[in-house]
């Protein structure tokens, strides 16, 4: 193995460094470093803002070491150091320019505080610090990348645990509570402001040890399970399922009202996503006006149940929900009819227009007497079950959980049915699908209609969750917020929608400073997904099977011959 890097290897390292250096400078210039400087990962040691910068150096080093150059460990370390140094140089360059010129006239976030952060308070004299840090981080990352997976994984798990706990320390401290065992753990790990260095070390060691243990004993555990008799295996599966379900059921009590509120929101977007997934993921019809059905559901429930001036019937929530779903279903079919012959990009634009039309109609003076215009519909009562009012976020969490479960069930049954296959055929090749005897009109309208009815269902929950509905809650951005988790999770995949919603709806809510950067992060996440993992975080089983198949393919000829 050559110990020296060739021209290609150097260039690759520099290029990776430039890319990630650009990312680091960008992150600093949009203000993320400064905003997140408040959020300490380990108290007094490192903030989340600095972690973001550090991650750029680590990523550059890791990628440079993994590049096409190959070669030995020395050249990997060298490449990592070069890439990290380039990232550091980019940040140092920003520091120099920012200290000499006043960038603030153009970049609001290029504040003195930012430059003080970048140089660890040294100002211009600290220009070499980012360079050193970048080189070191790049080298460490490159070193880690050359380790065997069984050694690297536990370290990574440990670091991720520290990062997660550090970032979400506020919530975790509340969850641990003020007394008993929880309080003891809290006092060991945390101070009032955040994670203690001692706590970080303990967390790292615990995560590292358990990850190592799992990697070491994983095979043995699998063998042990496989050797159990079938009845016991089923029992074990039921047990895991039971633990999972009870954890979900207990979650609101452990998490408290704020986290429950976030989870309700996640559930809401998951519901919307599951509905849109039928249209976009199953049938391949890109619908950007999905928010219209969300609005229809919400307004229907508002009109039917409100005790305020716009309420008509004062129905109970449970009567109103099926009506809302039917109204949305009809809306979906009505939208579907004019766009039946439109495909691809044109369909996306046409449906986007539909979404806006609904919002503007609701907002219009013409419908104001009935729908309340921009004032919306107020005083929507909370649903009750056998006399129990589902008022708080904890109770609403159960409602969304049950409905999510139901919708996942229905969607999975649909996917595996004759209709589901027809949808996928339309997605793959519309003309051929029609030549297979599939009635395109029926199949497409069913996709639009059924998808829309789930959208209406989420709208209904939204109405009772907020207690009022306003037109401004139904902007185009909602459609995009629903679509993004589907893409990130994996087109057409049911678990993918849930994972995507957790990642793209849940996380930004928890990190409130993120609010300003939410769409930046969405965009970055989408680009990153398309580049690195186009099949999504949790792709549908068929797509996963495809990966296994390439291994199978190689084995196939022998099998045939045998």
């Amino acid at each position: 193995m050559p110990m020296r890097m060739d021209r290609q290897g150097w260039w690759n390292a520099v290029r990776k460094g430039l890319i990630w250096g650009g990312v680091a400078v960008f992150v600093a210039m949009v203000g993320m470093v400064e905003t997140f400087a408040e959020r300490q990962v380990i108290i007094g040691v490192v903030s989340f803002g600095m972690t973001l910068l550090a991650l750029a150096g680590v990523a550059a080093g890791f990628q440079a070491a993994r590049g096409p150059a190959g070669g030995g460990r020395v050249s990997a370390l060298l490449g990592g150091a070069v890439a990290g140094a380039v990232v550091g140089a980019a940040v140092a360059g920003l520091l120099l320019v920012g200290s000499v010129l006043n960038l603030r006239t153009m970049f609001v976030s290029a504040s003195p505080r930012l430059f003080s952060l970048l140089s660890a308070g040294q100002g211009l004299h600290g220009w070499y610090l980012p360079l050193l840090a970048g080189t070191a981080l790049g080298m460490i990352a490159a070193g880690a990348s050359t380790l065997a997976a069984r050694l690297r994984r536990p370290i990574l798990t440990g670091l991720m645990s520290v990062l997660t706990v550090g970032v979400f320390q506020e919530l975790l401290q509340i969850m641990l509570g003020g007394e008993g065992v929880g309080a003891v753990i809290r006092d060991v790990l945390f101070e009032s402001e955040g994670l203690l260095p001692r706590g970080a070390l303990i967390l790292f060691l615990v995560a590292w040890a358990s990850s190592s243990l799992w990697i070491w004993r994983r095979a043995a555990v699998h063998v042990w399970v496989a050797r159990r008799p079938a009845s016991q295996q089923r029992g074990l599966r039921l047990l895991t399922l039971g633990i999972g379900v009870s954890a979900l059921l207990l979650l609101p009590h452990l998490a408290g009202p704020f986290l429950s509120q976030v989870l309700v929101l996640v559930g809401l977007f998951a519901l919307l996503g599951l509905g849109l997934n039928i249209v976009v993921g199953f049938a391949g019809l890109l619908d950007l006006g999905y928010v219209a059905f969300f609005a229809m559901g919400a307004y229907t429930v508002g009109l039917l149940t409100s005790t305020g001036e716009h309420g008509i019937f004062h129905f109970s929530f449970w009567t109103a929900v099926p009506i809302a779903m039917v109204v949305s279903l009809i809306g979906g079919v009505l939208l579907g009819i004019p766009v039946l012959r439109i495909r691809g990009d044109y369909l996306a634009i046409a449906t986007m227009g539909f979404g806006e039309i609904i919002r503007l109609l609701v907002l219009s003076d013409f419908l104001r007497p009935w729908l309340g215009g921009s004032q919306g519909i107020l005083a929507i009562p909370k649903p009750t079950i056998v006399g129990l009012e589902l008022s708080g976020p904890e109770q609403l969490f159960y409602l969304t959980l049950v409905l999510c479960g139901l919708v996942v069930f229905v969607a999975s049954r649909l996917r595996d049915s004759r209709l589901g296959r027809a949808w996928m055929a339309v997605r793959e090749d519309e003309d051929v699908a029609e030549a297979m005897g599939i009635n395109l009109v029926n199949v497409k309208l069913l996709a639009f209609g059924l998808g829309a009815s789930f959208g209406g269902l989420s709208g209904a929950i939204f109405a009772v969750m907020v207690g009022s509905v306003f037109p401004h809650s139904f902007q185009l951005l909602i459609s995009i917020k629903v679509l993004s988790p589907i893409i990130v999770g994996g087109m057409g995949s049911l678990p993918g929608v849930l994972v995507g919603s957790l990642a793209l709806v849940g996380l930004p809510e928890l990190l409130r400073e993120f609010a300003d950067f939410r769409f930046l992060v969405y965009g970055a996440a989408l680009v990153a997904m398309m580049q690195l993992r186009p099949e999504g975080l949790w792709p549908e089983p068929v797509r996963k099977r495809e990966l296994h198949e390439s291994e199978q393919d190689a084995a196939e000829p022998e099998k045939v011959l045998a």
Binding site: S417, A425, D431, V432, A435, M436, V542
Partner: protein, 516 residues
């Protein structure tokens, strides 16, 4: 009794009469072929029958019932199924799912039943799966039900497409070039399979096909189209000797020419004297190329000398196109080198390799269908800035391929298959290549056009361009090439002069279709 009858069927595209006043009767339980030059309107007629197009005039009767103007799904439900010239499977669905979609018209259960899981739905789904498995077995795809359609080898994809068509339980099956891109061995298997469809399942077959061995071997009746009109009809023996058919379609000599005979022996650009080896232009050395985990090329080595035509023959999936794609930089080899005049091409991007004079004519032509002929040619010259050279090469292309000059303002997508192939070659020539990589230039072309294309290839070579030719039609390829290589499952198994390969018993058996 005729199962399908067309009376005065006419289909226009703008001013072009694609099918003109066509009368056709397909006898029940017969195998009936439609042949004719590219652009004669054969596929257009299929599209009229299956409801993709609505004919402007005339009548199409299926089992005595008029079907013109029905939507494709209705036509399928009546009992007509089809396959496509360029395979159109649902590529991201499994083989089994493809067949299940084919059964769609015969399944009755609705979505509410599926959501609730009613016993009748479950029963129907189970029966449908059984039926799909049976069909997989019937077409010889046992055990491949869980494969994604796009991951199946080419021949299996053709079979799966037929299985999907059979799933709709047709009485009439339209096959559009079922043996396109198959080598003689696979072709013979496909012929036997088509006969089984008729004999065992009693399905009437209407077939579009260019391979005369197939057409003459299995058809009971042949209809010949030219410019959208029927010019002859009858049993194979009559058609083979029909003067108009020979002139319009078969080409002089080709119908009777024994396989393996060169068109013009010894007339190629270089003397067939292997002792005077030309200077090496391209060297492919020990190249290993992967698709993910699949090891596609397992140490391929070959050389192409300056001024040579070298051909690479082999079965589908042997790695011929992979080799060309590796040379042109679209795929990167994991090991090994590709050198052009001694220079390693591994560090260059595809467009840089093209700029160095290695230009590919891709399989399936891939012309820019929305651009005119002239614009396509200009796109081919994108990388160059010399005005004089451009004008000179344009003149050269128009001299070599006069059809392109006639059609210079026509949109690429409306050209016939043969013209599109010419355009693809012309586009590549506009980049003034030193080395031209040709991938299956004769695929899907009528015999008379195949001869024309090969003559053009020879002319290009005689003007000094080196050529590496990948071709399914080994007979033709070896008749114009100086040397050849045989590629099998990613490895070169034979090499030699074209004459040596033509005489090699293994090549004769497997690729020239002599003896079985």
């Amino acid at each position: 009794m005729a199962i399908l009858t067309a009376r005065g069927t006419t289909k226009r595209f703008g001013g072009l009469l694609a099918v003109h006043q066509l009368d056709l009767d397909v006898e029940d339980k017969s195998i009936h072929s439609i042949i004719g030059p590219n652009g004669a309107g054969k596929t257009t007629f299929f599209n009229c029958v299956t409801g993709f197009y609505r004919p402007e005039e005339g009548e199409i009767l299926f089992q005595g019932m008029p079907i013109q103007g029905l939507t494709p799904d209705r036509v399928t439900q009546l009992g007509i199924a089809r396959t496509y010239q360029n395979i159109r499977l649902f590529s991201n669905m499994t083989a089994l799912e493809n067949i299940l979609v084919g059964q769609h018209p015969h399944l009755k259960s609705g979505w509410p039943g599926a959501v609730v899981g009613t016993p009748s739905t479950k029963h129907e789904e189970r029966a449908a799966h059984q039926e799909a498995l049976r069909l997989l077995l019937f077409v010889g795809l046992r055990g491949k039900g869980d494969f994604l359609a796009k991951n199946l080898p080419y021949g299996d994809q053709r079979r799966l497409e037929i299985a999907r068509a059979l799933a709709s339980r047709p009485n009439l099956l339209l096959l559009d070039e079922p043996t396109a891109g198959m080598n003689p061995r696979e072709t013979i298997e496909m012929m036997a399979f088509i006969r089984r469809l008729r004999d065992e399942l009693g399905i009437t077959i209407l077939l579009i096909e260019h391979q005369m061995r197939v057409v003459m071997g299995i058809s009971e009746c042949i209809t010949v189209l030219d410019y959208g009109e029927k010019i002859a009809e009858g049993p194979p023996i009559t058609i083979q000797n029909d003067a108009r058919v020979i002139e319009a379609y078969l080409g002089r000599g080709s119908a009777g020419r024994a396989p393996g005979t060169p068109i013009r022996p010894g007339e190629a650009g270089l003397p067939e004297d292997s002792s005077r080896a030309p200077r090496t232009m391209l060297e492919v050395k020990e190249v290993h190329t992967y698709y993910g985990h699949i090891h596609a090329l397992k140490g391929v080595s070959l050389t192409v000398g300056e001024g040579e035509i070298v051909t690479l023959i082999g079965a589908n999936g042997a790695g011929k196109s992979t080799t060309l794609n590796t040379i042109s930089g679209l795929l990167r080899p994991r090991h090994g080198h590709v050198r052009l005049a001694g220079e390693d091409l591994g560090v260059y991007k595809p467009h840089e390799i093209a700029a160095k004079g290695v230009v590919m004519v891709p399989e399936g032509r891939r012309i820019f269908s929305q651009l005119t002929v002239m614009e396509n040619l200009q796109a081919g010259a994108y990388a160059r800035s010399d005005r004089d050279g451009f004008a000179r090469d344009l003149q050269r292309v128009f001299t070599l391929l006069p059809r392109l000059a006639e059609r210079r303002d026509q949109v690429g997508g409306t050209l016939s298959g043969g013209e599109q192939q010419m355009l693809a070659i012309g586009r590549a020539l506009m980049a003034s290549p030193r080395l031209l990589l040709l991938d299956e230039p004769s695929m899907g072309l009528a015999p008379i056009l195949v001869e024309q294309i090969f003559k053009t290839v020879e002319d290009i070579n005689r003007q000094g361009t080196t050529i590496l030719l990948v071709e399914q039609n080994a007979t033709m390829a070896l008749s114009i090439a100086h040397r050849g290589y045989v590629l099998e499952t990613g490895t070169i198994t034979l090499k030699g002069s074209a004459v040596e390969l033509r005489e090699h018993p293994e090549v004769k058996r497997a690729y020239l279709g002599e003896g079985t």
